[in-house]
Every structure is written in structure tokens, then in C-alpha cells.
Symmetry: C2
Subunit: 368 residues, 2 copies
Amino acid sequence: MDTPRYTDLVQSLPANVPFVGPEEQERARGAPFAARLGANENIFGPSPSAIAAMRAEAENVWKYGDPTSHDLRAALADAMGVATGNILVGEGIDGLLGNLVRLLIGPGDAVVTSDGAYPTFNYHVTGFGGVLHKVPYRDDHEDLAALMTRAHEVGAKLIYLANPDNPMGTWHQGTDIVAALDQLPEGCLLLLDEAYVEFAPEGTAAPVAGNDPSVIRMRTFSKAYGMAGARIGYAIGAPDLIRSFDKIRNHFGMNRMAQVGALAALNDTAWLADIQAKVAVARNTIARIAAENSLVALPSATNFVAVDCGRDGDFARAVLAALVARGVFVRMPFVAPQDRCIRISCGRPGDLEVLADALPPALAEARG
Amino acid sequence: MDTPRYTDLVQSLPANVPFVGPEEQERARGAPFAARLGANENIFGPSPSAIAAMRAEAENVWKYGDPTSHDLRAALADAMGVATGNILVGEGIDGLLGNLVRLLIGPGDAVVTSDGAYPTFNYHVTGFGGVLHKVPYRDDHEDLAALMTRAHEVGAKLIYLANPDNPMGTWHQGTDIVAALDQLPEGCLLLLDEAYVEFAPEGTAAPVAGNDPSVIRMRTFSKAYGMAGARIGYAIGAPDLIRSFDKIRNHFGMNRMAQVGALAALNDTAWLADIQAKVAVARNTIARIAAENSLVALPSATNFVAVDCGRDGDFARAVLAALVARGVFVRMPFVAPQDRCIRISCGRPGDLEVLADALPPALAEARG
């Protein structure tokens, strides 16, 4: 008998990892990237008041964080116009996704998502034995109607929808999502990933009632608030669903510095507005760089832009590899026909100059 | 059909929480604690170089942490005399425990632990449907032989052993644990929780071979390194077992500030030695305060002391409540006969003066 004895489910799981980190790529290539534009991080950084709050808290890190994240949850509830009982704080959306999947999905349970949507969600579903049913994008948008139809067909317990979408940057009106809830099968939960919603036009956030038991929304301090490395996000949902996480979550899992930093970041609305403006400028710059190279940038409601390389996935992968070889960290969608694109995160002017310099020779190399 | 549809396992789980945090108790009592001596936190704090590293990293928190924790793992491997492939960094021992249980334990699988040992481990086992088999303490020590015997009887996949023990503070010689491995059933993994081992006498750490597939050790920066609120710990085990975590763990789950802080803390061996000395003094002070109140302090190899209140659990709970009412945050073992004790974490001289002042009236109140 081998030691240890893994569960049958674990033995069946692939050893693959959703994403390789840029540091590992840097070690492999033996040099740092000149521009870090691949992970949709917010290179403009967190609010100075968030940095100050985290620095001040460093000496208190001998204390465990408050397992209820009381102060932050109260502030988030105020900001969202819901009750504290509608809010759960967790270790980023990735951590919240894992716990939500664990609550609902066991071996054989059906889950619906878009083919090419967030791989880390799929990783969690597979990790708990769920069966993924994927519907294609429609015109580079997640296809609301098709997601609902497939959920009916397969008896799904959970639908994943990112709005705005990653990796394409496209979006739906929030009211269209609420309208689509009429088509949500009974007993099916809509997981609405709003990680990028602060970058989107007004009206993108879905006006879901806080106590609606058919939807859970997830948001994060990793993107607009520039705190990806702090690992803090939150879910908004019906109180029963929010409370159910207490059965399984790592109660003392929150970093204290992340808790105080997030609270300070949330209160610095001027900084957020400045970030939103800088990201809008960067999106335009990326579109201009694309156009200068005869490529088409897709409209984006996020802090990244999908740039259509104009041919198939092999060509886009060649462009990507040539950019990486020139010190530009970027990633791309995994699934055709979206894999004709590369995905470029917004950067500061200097970062985008690196991109502008690297793209013409990268394209020339990819064209052979 | 209700929405959402939880798994049968989740529906069966109790909604209880392993520990209530001191902040929640403070909000309930409407006043802060005068002495925070209940969670075995290291009130002496982290190394100044760890604080400095975390502060410096705060402005870089827009980047995700390195999912491989490469630099920290390399340093830990050096320090432990093992290979990097023997080391896994995770979100504290609590997070590592959850993932280890998920790898091994499914509904009905047998797990052996001591009755009254770490509740958060039990929480994870129950949370994945495992069946806990508990053996009593022997003379306030976890009973190595009984754990092994029970594991044989029930066909356990996993044994939990904390050395030193929490909540009693007692310990075994590391060589005795290695000798007991001869009795470990085939196909059973020994989980050796060494959270407090840096406070223990030389010879307490078990000299387990790094590649031994029958043992996984867990350590943390929460205790001796004073970084409980940073959420960072590590496991040492055979490479196959360490790699298997990659199938399920939250790859981008580590806080960047925690990663750099832990590395700095590990390198500050002088600070660690100073903490060890201060904790030894505090243990003696707690023992003296106990003796002044005609109570007996148990020998401890940790940063806390179990103080025998001399009667039954009801009496000890009354003492505990009377201390909490006087602003002293303490906790106690949950299970008889260990629940005759209260558990007092080491503190600075001022913290222990608060304890010294509160204990006589608390005892008087408990004696009615």
C-alpha cells in the first residue's frame, strides 16, 4: 500500500497549474521582464493611504486578523447599500471561488461556464469533481442566453459569468444580466464575477438585490484597488449563502495588513477615480499601438485590452512568444477563436513604450 | 427546489466555528482586553527586519505574490537541510491542514487524533466528511502508542500529532516520535504539527528524513516568528506529497508582504534567540503567579502555559470567565480531564502584571 492514500478524486486530477507566474518565467529566461503586462495587475499601484495603513499595521502582525473582518465588512456593506450579513471577505476571488465550489459541487455535479473563461474557476470545479459544460463566446462576448439554455439542459447547480469578461474585456449591461435571471433554472446559482467592474462604464454592475438567493457576486481589491499581492476580495449574496461559508472557510485566513489596507483603499475614492482615468488613457494607448501595427484592439471595460493579431491561434502564440522574448510579459486567451488575440494589461506610459518598441519586431518574427 | 443546492456533505455540517476571535469578544463586552493572552500569539512581535521588509514591500502589493514562493522555499530548504522539493509554503498551518485533509480524506475515511487536540484540524476533517477517532491524553501528553494502536484498529489514513502539544504545552522527544514510526500502519500518514517547536528544548524536533513518505511536518511563522496575522507557514515532506498540493492549492494565494517578511524573519536568528529567552522568562513568571495563587503550572515547551485550576472543568470555566470579565483574554482546553486547566499565553511583563492582578479576584469569584 502506498503512503499516503490520496482520495480517488485527487488521484484523478491533473497536476496542471492554472497560470505560471512571471517570476518563474523570469528565472527561466534569466532576466527580469522590462514590462509586466500579463496578469492584469494594476501597475499604478494601491492608494497611498492603503500603503500607509499596511505599513503601520506591519508591527501588529503578531496578532491574528479578525476572522469576521468586521470593520471592512461594515464599510463594504455601506458602500454596496446592503447589510453586513450580505458580505463575506475572503482571500481574493480565487479563494472565494474555491470555497463556493466546495459548498455546491461534488463529483458529477454540472457547472456551466464559457469556453475560454477564467481557468482558475474551472480548476476549482474539476478539483471538487464537478463536470464543466462550456458554451462558446458569441461575438467575443460571454453568451448570456446560451449559458442559461445549457444550464437547463444539464441541470447545472452553478453558472459562472464574468462581467466584464476576462480575457476578452467585453461586457454586458447590468440590466441585461438581471433580465436574464428570469431564464435561470430553479436551483441554479449565478456566480457573477465582477473583478473588473470598477473599470467598466456606468451601468455594467448588475443591480442585483442584496438578498436575492439566485446570485452571488464577487469583487476584489486586486484590480482597481491595486492590491493583488494582498489577497483580499469579497462576495455579496443572500445571508444564508454568506453564512454557509462559515462551515468550511479558513476563519483565521485573512492577513491583517490586507484587512486594514483594503479599508483604507475603499475610502480613498479620489485615488480610485485617478486610477480609472489612467487606465482609460492606457487602453487608448494600447489601441493606438495596435493600430500602428495594423492590428485591431477590442473594446474593453477592464484594465486590459485584447488585441486581435488577425490570424489564428498559432500566429498569436508566436507573437506572444516573441514579445516575451523581448521582455514584455503578456498572456493570451486559451481557446479558439478568441486565441487569435493577445491580452495586454494597462501600464504606465513607460511600460507601453516598451510594448510599442517590441511589437513591430515581434510581429515581423511571428510572420517569419 | 431551494437555491443554491449545497452538497449533501455541506448540508450535514454544523455551522460552528473553531474559535471566536478576541475582537469579537471585545465588541461584545464593549471594551478592549487589557491583556491579550488567549491565542498563543507572540506578543513580543516579529523581527524588526521582518517589519522593515513588509513595510518596504507594501508599495509592491499591486503584484501577485510568486505562486512558487521560490526564494522563501529555498531558504527554508537550506535551514532544514532538505531540498526545495521537500518544502511547501502555504497560508499558515490552518491553510495547509485544510489542503492536506482534502488530499487524503473523503466521506467515511478514518482519521486519528487526541481528544482535545487542535480543533481546527478536526474542523477540516469533518468538513471533508472524514471520521475522527480520538484517543485520550495520557498524563497530559498526547499518547503516541495509543494513537498508533487506534490507527491500526480503524484503518486510519492520517494521524494528527502536535509536538509540542497544544493546548497542554507538553512534549515528546523527537527520537521517540521517530521510533514510534515503526508502529505506523502501512498507508497511514503521520501529520506532525510542529507549530511551537522553536520554543521547545533541543531534541524536541523529530529528526525525520526529508523524503520519508510516511510523515509530513508543518511549521509556521505565526508563533516564534511573531507573524500570526501574516498567514504563512510551511510543510516539509516527501516530494511526491509536496507536489500533490499543486493539484488543489490556491496557487496565487500567498500575500507578498508575508513572503518577504517570513524570509527576513528566518534570517534574523538573533531575534529568534531573544524571543526564545523572553518566552522562557514569561513561562516562569506565569508559573510563579500560578503558585502564588496555589495553582500548579504544567511544564511547557511552548509560548503558553496550562495552569491547573485544581478542580473540574466547570470550575476552570468559571475562572476563565472571571478573567475575561477582568479584561484578560485567555482560553482553555475543551476536553476533560484537561479542562481542569486554563491556557495562558506568554506576555510581556506588563501583560503578566495584569494577569497577576486579575487572578486572585477571578479565583475568589469562581469559588463563589
